[in-house]
């Protein structure tokens, strides 16, 4: 019985396959756990234009068992062409999404299951308090000599604090809110304080396609001995993301306005997960920023890898003038008094357990004081945690 399939494949490779034989053999391979044979025959069959739901599901399962989740996704998605509501396809697309760490996709496929199957997976439809994250950032200005002739060049080391709350409002909609505050002394009697509120919603349009909309309130206050200048600002953001196989592509647009600034930013991002054990992820982003009737480009390259069990390391470099640059889905707006003209840094994530992630970041910025055209360096250190409740 075990030897028979080999003869069968060998024999059928010499002649045209037919659906009945393919169905019978692939089912046999599936039952016996002969994944390589199943995949080989499946490929051969599809090349011969033999395709049916169970073939795709069996190939998807074979890849799933072998740990090739992207291929599994491809085949289970093919199976959905035959039966869009098939619970098995949706269930394994859910499991595959969990394994490639795509929570939005996983939840999308749960939404396609009936109540009984949803209950089996034990994933709650809504969670008002899904995760809480906090971060603290301290920046150190280096090679910075106070120019006594230009007293307004004084820059203290700024602080940034942030707290965020993630809520899942349905299987396909995710809501994230954040409050942050930034403060810096920028003159002998001038303090800049910026309080910010951020809210974003992500809706899964399809399995691997999502739309994100975000609003970010930026309240800047310049306090001097006698005056207080309050500048409220509004940042609007939209992003469409689509993933296919190991690639993902996003198109985003944002607009930041206050009494003095009207900056528009359009971004195009390409991501690729390299098929190696350490899960290397590459992302290239190109942005076009338009403000004051002129445009400029900003380029970012990020690389991340699983360097050890539970440790994810990520490095990035950004080139271009980052004044009013919108980053990380508009969670961060770089509108500090001095423009960043170059940035590089690295982040380390430590997955303590299922519920807790610790992270730290180091960033180096080259900063430019506009009036005096003085360039100084800034070292930035961040520590934080994400608590998945």
């Amino acid at each position: 019985m075990i030897v028979l399939p080999f003869f069968a494949v060998s024999a059928f490779s010499q002649q045209r396959l037919n659906p009945t034989v393919v169905d019978s053999l692939t089912y046999n391979y599936y039952l016996n756990g002969n994944w390589n044979e199943l995949i080989t025959l499946g490929k051969q069959a599809t090349n011969d234009s033999i395709d049916f739901k169970y073939l795709q599901q069996r190939m998807g399962y074979a890849y799933f068992v072998k740990g090739n989740y992207f291929a599994a996704i491809r085949h289970y998605q093919n199976a959905l062409y035959f039966d869009a509501d098939d619970p098995v396809s949706h269930t394994y697309l859910y499991y595959s999404a969990v394994n490639i760490n795509d929570e939005a996709m996983a939840r999308y496929h749960i939404s396609k299951l009936d109540a009984e199957n949803q209950a089996f997976l034990k994933v709650k439809k809504s969670r008002l308090v899904d995760a809480v994250d906090v971060e603290y950032n301290y920046k150190i200005n280096k090679d910075y000599a106070i120019n006594y002739a230009l007293t307004s060049d004084l820059r203290s080391n700024p602080h940034y604090k942030r707290i965020g709350l993630n809520s899942q409002l349905g299987y396909r909609f995710n809501l994230y809110q954040s409050y942050s505050t930034y403060s810096q002394l920028t003159d002998y009697f001038n303090q800049t304080i910026q309080n910010e509120y951020y809210i974003s919603g992500v809706y899964s349009l399809f399995s691997r396609t999502s739309f994100m909309a975000a609003y970010h309130y930026v309240g800047t206050t310049f306090n001097t001995d006698t005056d207080s200048l309050k500048i409220p600002g509004n940042l609007w953001f939209g992003k469409l993301t689509h993933s296919f196989n190991r690639f993902d592509v996003s198109l985003s647009h944002s607009r930041f306005t206050n009494d003095y600034v009207d900056a528009k930013q359009t971004g195009l991002q390409f991501g690729f997960l390299v098929p190696v054990k350490s899960k290397i992820y590459l992302k290239s982003s190109l942005y076009n920023i338009t403000e004051s009737d002129s445009s400029r480009l900003v380029f970012n390259q990020t690389i991340g890898a699983l360097i050890a069990r539970r440790f994810w390391l990520q490095g990035s470099a950004t080139l271009g003038n980052l004044n009013n640059f919108v980053d990380n889905n508009a969670l961060y707006l770089y509108n500090s008094m001095d423009h960043t003209t170059f940035r590089t840094g690295a982040s380390l994530f430590y997955y303590i357990g299922k519920h807790l992630i610790l992270f730290t970041n180091y960033t180096f910025d080259k900063k430019l004081i506009i009036d005096s055209q003085y360039i100084y360096k800034q070292h930035s250190i961040t520590g934080g945690l994400i608590w998945k409740i």
Binding site: N190, F222, T224, D225, L229, I231, Y260, S292, D293, R296
Partner: protein, 204 residues
């Protein structure tokens, strides 16, 4: 590899060229704005500065504040002067600039606050001392006006405007003898001055 080197060189050159181009663009825009200002075409002058405007650039804010003031758009003018003040709170020129549109809309409390801040930074500033003195005088606060005019007269004893204002302030404070001396001094600086003569008439 050769391609990579080529791309890197092209990228560096474009960044360097971009920086120089940015400076040139800025200078050209400011230069054009001066030309438009000379011809009283403030709208065009404002447009030029706005084309290179950077909210963190003190000069751009000052320049827009000034041009908007000339264009009689006082509220907008104040907005840009306020930003310039926030960027350089030690700079008194931004405060002097802000005072112009604030005076135009008669926002005297804010005018007074700017003068007080200027005097905190530069206590001997004659312009601020004099005009804050005028603000106090118009509010009939002769005690504070007296202090400020005295300071200016001590610095510039031959400045007619300060001498005459101090003379009237003294008169209003009931210091007729001091006022008489100052009115006569004003007449020496500016013979036949009607204000000084009318002051002397009141004393006699």
């Amino acid at each position: 590899m050769e391609n990579l080197k080529f791309i890197t060189i092209i990228f560096c050159l474009s960044v360097i060229t971009g920086v120089f181009a940015q400076n040139n663009v800025r200078q050209t825009a400011f230069s054009k704005s001066y030309e438009y200002e000379k011809n009283a075409n403030y709208t065009a002058a404002i447009k030029e500065v706005k084309s290179v405007y950077d909210a963190n650039d003190y000069f751009s804010n000052i320049r827009l504040g000034w041009l908007l003031y000339l264009g009689k758009n006082y509220t907008e003018s104040i907005k840009y002067y306020d930003k310039a003040v926030a960027l350089k709170p030690y700079a008194i020129e931004a405060r002097f600039g802000a005072i112009k549109p604030l005076s135009a809309i008669e926002s005297w409390e804010k005018v007074k606050a700017h003068y007080l801040q200027i005097l905190k930074i530069d206590p001997q500033n004659t312009t601020a001392n004099y005009w804050l003195g005028v603000v106090y005088y118009n509010r009939k606060d002769y005690v504070n006006a007296n202090k400020l005019f005295e300071k200016v007269v001590n610095l510039y004893p031959l400045d007619y405007d300060s001498v005459i204002m101090l003379a009237w302030t003294k008169l209003n404070l009931g210091k007729a003898a001091d006022a008489k001396v100052l009115f006569n001094h004003a007449l020496t600086i500016r013979p036949g001055d009607t204000s000084a003569l009318s002051g002397l008439k009141l004393i006699k």
